[in-house]
């Protein structure tokens, strides 16, 4: 286990009883139904679940992109509900980094300009050493003046990771970061993310549907039907795949803790009604 066991782990992001409903009346769709989840500082968590399980909505709520219908989202102790749109944006650019599956980069900006963009938006000067250390880490020092259009998918994803890390955010959210990449490139990108956690002490939350990708995490949490339905520590790809298969079969049922050991940081929640 790579979490710093000897320190008392601070919680980087916490979701408390978060519910999110889209639409109104008959057309209302509940995407999250009372989700409680916490992410320790310096941890790497993969979030998995079948399609429609609410993992995208979870990511949007946790990252402050979407406001939950009810419940609280705390990033580094700040309740996002207390922030207006501008402060929320500022919090996002200072405390949160993003890595998406695709469409990650502004095609008009060079690699370097893309990486320092969040700093510029914040009106902060990009210190050269900080940028260089990030660039070194992702191995793009020789391509700083290239435009994204000339880079391969894996290289583009590294730029995106560098951009997410450059502000030294409290937490980095990655949404299917390897979804558009081949196996080898994906492994390299995941290694890079892992390194950000191990070396940089960053907190990483990654939504994925790929058991192999999830196996790089310290912990995998499983969502189904807008609820937390289980988790795995020190996962292997096979164990994750097996759990996913079961989730696919009993999509609507809460899954008992089973083989996964209970976590001290993230409480397991089977839902108040015990499922439907």
């Amino acid at each position: 286990m790579r979490t710093r066991g000897n320190e008392r782990p601070a919680v980087a992001v916490r979701l408390e009883a978060v519910e999110k409903t889209y639409g109104r009346g008959d057309g209302a769709v509940a995407a999250l139904r009372g989700l409680d989840l916490g992410f320790d500082t310096g941890s790497f968590t993969a979030v998995m679940g079948p399609s429609g399980s609410g993992k995208s909505t979870f990511l949007h709520c946790a990252a402050g992109l979407v406001r939950p219908t009810s419940g609280r989202v705390l990033v580094g102790g700040t309740d996002l509900a207390d922030l207006d749109e501008r402060r929320l944006t500022e919090l996002r650019r200072n405390r949160i980094g993003f890595v998406f599956q695709a469409y990650n980069l502004l095609s008009s900006l060079t690699v370097h300009q893309n990486i320092v963009l969040p700093l510029q938006l914040a009106g902060r000067r990009a210190s050269r050493e900080r940028v260089l250390s990030v660039v070194d880490r992702v191995g793009l020092a020789d391509r700083l003046d290239h435009l994204p259009g000339g880079l391969s998918g894996g290289q583009q994803q590294r730029v995106a990771i560098a951009r997410a890390l450059v502000t030294r955010p409290a937490v980095v959210f990655a949404d299917e970061p390897t979804g558009a990449l081949d196996t080898r490139t994906a492994a390299a990108v995941l290694a890079l993310l892992r390194e950000a956690v191990t070396v940089g002490g960053q907190t990483l939350v990654m939504v994925t549907h790929d058991p192999v990708a999830a196996a790089h995490a310290d912990r995998v949490v499983f969502l189904a039907d807008g609820r937390l339905v289980g988790e795995l520590h020190r996962p292997t790809a096979d164990a994750v795949a097996a759990r996913m298969t079961r989730l696919g079969a009993w999509e609507d049922d809460p899954v008992p803790a089973g083989p996964a050991s209970s976590s001290s940081a993230a409480s397991f929640d089977a839902g108040p009604g015990g499922g439907r």
Partner: protein, 861 residues
């Protein structure tokens, strides 16, 4: 955000070409209008013949008016107001005046071998030669019966000192001895000049001794500004407000009687034209910026996700626009001047403004034009940027972009406001406005406002129309039609964005072109309707002597003849500033030569202090036969003629002349009375009507014989009678072509830009269709039906918008809600729009389909 804005501009320059072009054209036109406005305000004519004296006293070329509401204004006179000769002594007596030199000008033409030499030549008094100055190169000053010719004229006439020349003045041919030859070195090419002795010039000019101007030469060492003030004071106390003092660039106005009457036209034109340009820049830039932002919505969302605030996004859009519009405006400075000059040349070519008035486009109109253009662009960016700034950052994570709600409250309100404004203008045009130079200024913008309003609502209307025409289209076009309809209904926002620019194209172009064709048609008809005479004698040498009319009538086969004097004046009962066409005719020839319709009273009584007017005018001025009507002539003189007849309003079936017909807006006055108040002082045309059954060749040869005896006289077949006032309207309408050309260019760019972008975005969808088994032809067929649907919706909406201009304009002009004249132009506009739509849709799709469908599926962007 500036860096980002600049990078985006550099990287995506192709996408900004349309925005840039819109700004560039708009800025150039706004600046050109600024130039016209400055020219109109300054009305500067550099002195040419009067360049030799620093101060010129001349007749006030405007008339101060006070209308019924008590507001006062000043209106330009159409004819020269001459000044009292007594003023010469007044000016001479002013301390500091070295000499005061009288100036007289009158048409005088040298005739050699029966042909006029030196077009546009004028006679002057010899002392006026010092105003230029002209200097004798040989011979001596003229005495009685003698003339001094300028060098050019002497060469043309082959005259030398001592030889005799024939000169026609006021329609009479005389022989003078050339006493000398004079030349001027001002550098201007002046009109050819003949100089007579002062006494003889006064007699020849026939102005009862009144002077055109007085040139003031200061005594040595006198301060010019102080002298100007004291001369002005003396003139004001003696002249009673009818004389004015000109210095500097404005001295040239003394050479150009009636020049100021063009001022109103120029300023109205500049204002109307300029405000349209601003409106179009605003909309054009907003729509094109909106489109370019829509195309990179995902990038904007990404920016928001990595931490750009809404404000920063707005600032980025503003930054882009500021850079673009700054560049476009800077580049537009020179073309703006070219456009301004060419617009102005149009005005001078049509005689609305005297050629001698110089076009001024100083830094002020350029700066103001640039500011207005940039402000319009930034206003548009503010509008477009608000939308972009609302982009949800979460959209960057979404798999596909869900089209946002297109109908926002702001959009609906804006659209309704514009539609209400357009409808309001339309109603005002039809009910309040009278046929006059300002008619186009309310009629024209109505279709512009309606077009923009309808374009804003295009997505919703598109869906409604598509639903309505669904069944027949499906029946006609089978599977492609079915698919096209599904697309148009479900993607109504996309379809609507293609419809909007075409609505603008058809609405504005159709509206203005119809206005133009109605104008052309009505003026042609009224000119043809107004005249019964088959022939006219027309003088280019200053007019006909009174005896000629009798000679014409004496020709065999002539049923009637009338002198004709064209002028403009004012009726005090009309709203101030509105000029009225005045037409001087002979009482005993008017009926035969002019189409006057049914008469109340007797036109034969039109002698002396008398006037005749149309029934419509009589009604609006509140007079009947027997009343007096207070008028002012074109030279500012007042008169109270008695109404002796009302003409027109003939209810005869088959006679298209009706009350209020545009041809019936002139006052008839006795030719000799009116001529005395014109610059030339004589009738310049004689209308001739042949008796029924006369051999045309016979009467023609008789007229040719008369003309041969009067150098500078031409015989005209089927003469048209158009008052000077009508020309202004034709110019205003003619400028519509420029506006239309601009709008067509704008709309064409937008249409192509929109459609190409839309089609590109659909590559994936089209690839999918081909993968599921559609042939290329089927896909193209579907796109073709979609294109036709877009064209149909746009044509319907555009026509509705155009009607906002056409109907009221037609009602006022021609008493018909339908456009007059040819509809070929509108058909061409519609056909052109259809060609644009199909071209911009099918060509990129066809090209796109050369790549295997599997590669385009999923590429999405």
């Amino acid at each position: 955000m500036w860096l980002l804005a600049l990078r985006t501009l550099r990287f995506r320059w192709a996408g900004f070409i349309a925005v840039f072009t819109a700004m560039f054209l708009g800025a150039a036109i706004v600046m050109a209008c600024g130039g016209l406005l400055e020219t109109g305000v300054r009305m500067a004519a550099p002195p040419q013949r009067l360049a030799g004296v620093p101060i010129v006293v001349t007749g006030q070329q405007t008339r101060d008016t006070t209308d019924s509401t008590g507001s006062s204004g000043s209106t330009a006179l159409g004819e020269r107001r001459r000044i009292d000769p007594g003023l010469l002594d007044t000016v001479t007596a002013v301390p500091g005046v070295g000499s005061a030199i009288p100036d007289l000008s009158f048409p005088a033409t040298v005739v050699v071998g029966g042909r006029a030499v030196g077009a546009g030549s004028n006679g002057h008094n010899w002392s006026a030669a010092g105003l230029t100055p002209y200097r004798l190169t040989g011979g001596a000053a003229p005495g009685s019966g003698e003339v001094v010719l300028d060098t050019g004229l002497a060469a043309d006439a082959g005259a030398t000192v001592g030889s005799g020349v024939q000169v026609t003045v006021r329609g009479t041919l005389r022989t003078f001895t050339v006493s000398g030859i004079a030349r001027q070195d001002t550098g201007w090419s002046l009109r050819p000049g003949l100089f007579f002795s002062d006494a003889q010039a006064r007699q020849l000019a026939g102005t009862d001794g009144r002077l055109d101007s007085i040139g003031v030469r200061p005594a040595p060492g006198v301060d010019l500004a102080g002298l100007e003030r004291s001369v002005a004071r003396a003139v004001a106390s003696a002249g009673g407000g009818t004389a004015t003092v000109l210095t500097g660039e404005r001295r040239g106005l003394a050479e150009l009687p009636g020049a100021l009457s063009g001022q109103r036209t120029v300023t109205i034109l500049a204002a109307v034209f300029g405000s349209w340009a601003v409106l179009i820049v605003l909309f054009g830039v907003a729509s094109m910026l909106g489109l370019s932002l829509q195309q990179r919505a995902r990038e904007t969302a990404l920016l928001r996700a990595v931490g750009a605030t809404s404000r920063q996004v707005r600032r980025m859009v503003l930054g882009e626009t500021a850079v673009l519009s700054g560049l476009a405006t800077a580049l537009a400075v020179v073309p703006g001047r070219v456009v301004g000059e060419s617009l102005y040349r149009q005005l001078t070519d049509h005689g609305v403004v005297a050629r001698e008035i110089t076009f001024h486009q100083g830094w002020i109109p350029v700066a103001v034009g640039a500011l207005v253009a940039v402000a319009a662009a930034l206003g548009a960016a503010l509008f477009a940027g608000r939308r972009a700034a609302r982009t949800e950052p979460v959209a960057a994570l979404a798999e596909s972009t869900v089209p946002g709600r297109w109908l926002t409250t702001g959009r609906l309100l804006t659209a309704l406001l514009l539609l209400a404004g357009g409808a309001g203008l339309s109603v005002v045009t039809a009910t309040v406005m009278t046929d006059g130079p300002t008619l186009a200024s309310t009629a024209g913008p109505a279709s512009v406002l309606c077009s923009i309003g309808l374009a804003l609502l295009a997505p919703g209307i598109t869906r409604a129309v598509v639903t309505a025409v669904g069944r027949p289209v499906r029946a006609l076009s089978g599977l492609s039609g079915y698919l096209a309809l599904r697309n148009a209904t479900t993607q109504h926002v996309r379809t609507g964005s293609a419809v909007a620019p075409i609505v603008l194209l058809i609405g504005i172009a159709g509206g203005t072109l119809s206005m133009q064709s109605t104008e052309d048609h009505v003026s042609a008809r009224s000119r043809a309707l107004g005249v019964r005479a088959e022939y006219a004698l027309s003088s280019s040498t200053g007019g006909f002597a009174p005896g000629l009319l009798g000679a014409v009538r004496a020709l065999p086969g002539v049923a009637g003849a009338s002198e004709l004097v064209d002028s403009t004046g004012f009726v005090d009962a009309a709203s101030h500033g509105d000029t009225v066409d005045l037409r001087g005719v002979s009482a005993d020839g008017a009926r035969q030569t002019l189409a006057l319709g049914a008469l109340n009273g007797s036109i034969e009584d039109l002698r002396g202090n008398a006037v005749a007017l149309s029934r419509a005018q009589a009604k609006s001025f509140g007079v009947r036969v027997g009343d007096t009507l207070r008028i002012h002539f074109g030279d500012g003189a007042a008169a109270d003629p008695t109404v002796v007849a009302e003409y027109g309003g003939d209810p005869d079936p088959g006679d298209p002349g009706r009350p209020g017909d545009p041809g019936e807006q002139y006052l008839l006055l006795p030719a000799d009375v009116l001529a005395a108040h014109t610059t030339t002082g004589l009738p310049t045309r004689i209308l001739v009507r042949a008796a029924a059954g006369t051999d045309p060749a016979r009467i023609r040869s008789g007229l040719d014989g008369l003309a041969a005896g009067l150098p500078g006289t031409a015989v005209v077949d089927h003469p048209a009678v158009a008052g000077p006032g009508r020309q202004i309207q034709q110019i205003l309408a003619a400028s519509n072509y420029t506006i239309v050309a601009m709008i067509v260019g704008y709309a064409a760019i937008t249409v192509v830009n929109t459609l190409v972008a839309v089609t590109r975005r659909r590559r994936g969808e089209l690839g999918l269709q081909r993968l599921t088994g559609a042939t290329r032809a089927q896909v193209l067929g579907m796109l073709g039906v979609e294109g036709v649907l877009v064209a149909v919706v746009a044509t319907v909406l555009g026509t509705v918008a155009a009607a906002a201009t056409i109907v009221p304009y037609g009602l006022v002009k021609a008493h018909s809600a339908l456009p007059q004249g040819s509809i070929g132009i509108q058909l061409a506009v519609t056909a052109g729009a259809l060609a644009l739509i199909l071209g911009a849709t099918l060509v990129p799709s066809w090209r796109g389909m050369r790549t295997p469908p599997i590669e385009t599926v999923g590429s999405g962007a």
